[in-house]
Symmetry: C2
Subunit: 214 residues, 2 copies
């Protein structure tokens, strides 16, 4: 037995990776650009409580100041998660890129992230653009996603079915939808992935790592 | 005098263009990938009222169903604005692309959009990735943005200053921030632009067009 620490990845990276891994296996990733829509619970129970208190306050006509977040989150968006680095990126944005490369074992993969806090209680969402080395149709990508354990495909826009944080909160599986081929770049896809970052992004993933070890 | 109709552009495209035009003049745009964070007021006064009613209902422990939007917007994100087309894109996503190309007079410019409704009352936000034909540093881009009428640069992350919908609501000017060079692609920038889509995205722009004509 080797002593050591096993790290659980960043929650935004973990949810992103649930969609990237089957796509990489199917078509070979060459580039990832992601914009996140991260829930208040990413900052812990206090983050959720602050958003709820601000909205309760708004309903009753009084202001509740921001303490957990840098600014009020109610009816707002905060493009600032973790601390800022000299290159203008946040720690969160760099973590998403670095951990994605590390876990996929693709040290040269270009990954660009913009991370934004949104007034949602639970479940992170991500708008993702990828390029692949081999062409993959939206239909084949849908099949690759559907075959991956822990990932559901919810992608029937005509029936107004697509992943939403409200539906994914409290669920173990992540969900991917809005899967569509890019209209300009031949080997490129766009999609939308949502996952409960307290489950797949944190607790569930730690349990799954432990199960794998035992 | 020539009779005719003058169209006001799509609000998400109008706000995006406020940042793209100075960048194109400075460095030549070759590619745009945008993810939007669109306020409830994009669906009119009823959209704002529905979000407020849902949050008032939540504060009082009763559910207010969705009528204006396809799903409840309170504490949620809806990756569905306008109707879906056969290629999987929404009308809004195609409009952002088409109108951007038309207004910049760049019919071949690749523009990819993902449009998402967020629980914000007023002001649309956009996470934007661009590639340019000539290299432009973040510092030079900041100067080009700052010199463009109607666009403010709010980009001092260490002081927690960046554009947010809460601050831009009710303002004529759009604001751009989080301006940073891409870490992988040489001639690429990422930024975040926010504007009140009822003003620059609609009423103000119509008035500005009329002023130009008179």
């Amino acid at each position: 037995r080797r002593p050591g620490i096993i790290a659980n990845p960043n929650c935004t990276a973990a949810i992103l990776l649930m969609a990237l891994k089957p796509l990489h296996d199917a078509a070979g990733l060459t580039r990832v650009i992601v914009s996140s829509y991260q829930a208040s619970s990413g900052a812990g129970a206090e983050g959720m409580a602050e958003l709820e208190a601000q909205l309760q306050g708004w309903a009753k006509g009084r202001k509740v100041p921001a303490k957990v977040f840098a600014h009020p989150l109610a009816f707002n968006l905060i493009p600032h998660i973790d601390s800022f680095k000299d290159n203008g990126y946040t720690g969160e944005e760099l973590k998403v890129a670095q951990e994605t490369r590390k876990i996929l074992e693709l040290p040269g993969l270009p990954v660009t992230a913009t991370c934004v806090r949104v007034p949602v209680l639970r479940a992170h969402s991500e708008s993702v653009y990828v390029e692949t080395s081999r062409h993959i149709s939206a239909e084949k990508a849908r099949k690759a996603f559907a075959a991956f354990p822990g990932l559901q495909v919810i992608d029937d826009p005509r029936l107004k079915r697509y992943p939403m944080p409200r539906d994914q909160a409290g669920k173990d599986d992540c969900a991917v939808g809005r899967i569509r081929e890019d209209l300009h770049t031949p080997n490129a896809l766009n999609f939308w992935v949502v996952g409960d970052q307290l489950r797949k992004g944190a607790a569930l993933n730690a349990v799954q790592i432990a199960e794998k070890l035992l």
